[in-house]
């Protein structure tokens, strides 16, 4: 179902949503934007930055999440500390990432209640990218700037209006009352989508990457590419698909908490005995790349990277995963 919304009417629509739910949108913070709850529709800044630095996965898997408390000696769960939410302005890469993480947290026999409850109570109003960045590479990993998977509504910017592709009941609840898009508007929206994807270069070919990486496992390739890597956590923390966490009992807070963890830290895989199965940065870098482009494929039949480009933009030493994958594909035993 295609609806149309003029940009001038968006604040009023947001206000309507705010009566029933907490609305999150990118808010300006210094030189960048971050998803935060709106107090006022005017705060939403959908275009200042191409994307937020901090990924919206934090809205479903918070960087620090209290799992339960001990209150006066009694167990107090936090699972139901969720409320109705609308997330406006999330891009396809981040939405697709949430869908990939559903495979980890919300499928099969073991479901993560914290994740599931938040996902169930949240509606995603996705803003597709009409002008993808030079660092975006979603089209190389099986996605695209207007990938609708995981979206409850997909907004396509056609100038003064958005064409809203309403995908399901959750989306209908927010957009039903709006006028239908005209044929002309829908056609324009298709052109915008095609043009956006066509503009994007493909920095690497992902076909066969899983097998190629397995074949390079013991190869010289890994010690070479990891030399400049500092082993910090920027790539993993900004990544919308990274999801490792560490559970800690914080005694002086009387809380059990889970915090994001990163395979790039030495202590991530350090065992109590002192043994470390990933003792050097070579093993850790190999693990990171292969998790995204090999192990995830093996487990879920999907590449575990959505091409958002944050790791490329913010790596302190300008390491570029696109270059790494391209090198891997081209690597010949010499």
């Amino acid at each position: 179902m295609y609806k149309v919304l003029s940009k001038a009417d968006l604040p009023r629509l947001i206000e309507k949503w705010m009566a029933q739910a907490t609305v999150y949108a990118p808010l300006r913070q210094g030189d960048f934007t971050k998803f935060a709850p709106l107090n006022d529709p005017a705060q939403a800044d959908l275009y200042y930055a191409a994307n937020t630095r901090y990924p919206p996965k934090a809205l479903f898997l918070p960087q620090s999440e209290v799992m339960f408390r001990a209150k006066d000696g009694e167990f107090e769960s936090t699972e139901d500390e969720v409320s109705s939410r609308v997330i406006l302005g999330i891009h396809s890469c981040d939405t697709r990432a949430l869908q990939l993480l559903d495979g980890v947290f919300w499928a099969g026999d073991y479901q993560d209640p914290y994740w599931a409850k938040k996902r169930g109570q949240t509606t995603l109003v996705v803003l597709g990218c009409a002008n993808p960045c030079a660092t975006c590479f979603c089209t190389s990993v099986g996605s695209g700037p207007f990938d609708k998977r995981g979206a409850d509504v997909m907004l396509i910017d056609i100038g003064d209006e958005y064409v809203a592709d309403v995908r399901n009941e959750k989306g209908q609840a927010l957009f039903d009352h709006l006028p239908d898009a005209s044929q002309e508007q829908t056609d324009t929206s298709r052109q915008v989508q095609a043009a956006a994807a066509a503009k994007m270069e493909k920095p690497f070919e992902s076909e066969g990457i899983e097998d190629k990486l397995y074949s390079l496992f013991d190869n010289d390739f890994w010690p070479k590419i990891q030399q400049s890597c500092l082993g910090c956590g920027v790539c993993t923390f900004l990544c919308p698909t990274c999801h490792c966490f560490d559970i800690v009992d914080e005694a002086q807070r009387s809380e059990r908490v889970r915090n994001w963890d990163t395979c790039m830290f030495r202590i991530y895989s350090q065992e109590a005995s002192g043994h470390n199965p990933r003792p050097t940065n070579t093993e850790r870098t190999r693990q990171r790349i292969m998790h995204k482009y090999a192990y995830f494929v093996e487990l879920y039949d999907e590449i575990g990277c959505t091409g958002c480009g944050r790791c490329v933009r913010y790596c302190p030493v300008d390491l570029d995963i696109r270059q790494i994958i391209r090198s891997a594909q081209a690597w010949e035993e010499s």
């Binding site: 914080e250 002086q252 807070r253 009387s254």
Partner: protein, 146 residues
């Protein structure tokens, strides 16, 4: 904010601090409940982490008590401590802590009653300044933890 409020004070004391026997006995047995005594083998053991931990937990005043420069039981421990902790006080002050909240007392055996005087002075100063507000970030303040 005066009669109802008792300042929380922590004293880091080197265990060899040459207090007179009477003073040391008082420190070991008669400290009022709002003053916590932490003995260390040498002031050199006192890391800025200890002081920060106390401050973040809501301690209103910290006293560091050790030996005179020439009299360190471990020869030089107190010298290292002095430079580090002196700078740490300057640094916390730069970040907004009141300078009077951290105090040093390098005491000799012959200075009877000095430690009690230092504590009294510190407490009086803190009472006038009020409870610490900045840098207090611990979820459950020291003293209220189970």
């Amino acid at each position: 904010m005066n009669d109802t409020w008792t300042p929380r004070i922590v004293v880091f004391q080197c265990q060899y601090s040459l207090y007179s026997e009477a003073d040391q006995k008082w420190m070991d047995t008669q400290l009022p409940p709002h003053i916590k005594l932490i003995q260390v083998p040498c002031t050199g053991r006192i890391s800025p982490l200890f002081v920060l931990n106390a401050i973040q937990g809501g301690t209103d005043g910290v006293l560091i008590s050790g030996c005179l420069p020439e009299k360190c039981h471990f020869k030089e421990g107190n010298l290292g401590a002095r430079r580090q902790l002196d700078e740490f006080r300057r640094f916390l002050t730069y970040l907004g802590m009141g300078e009077e909240r951290m105090r040093f007392a390098w005491i000799d055996l012959s200075e009877r009653g000095r430690i009690r005087q230092e504590l009294a002075d510190l407490e009086e100063t803190i009472r006038a300044t009020g409870p610490i507000k900045r840098l207090v970030t611990r979820a459950i303040p020291i003293g209220e933890q189970p």
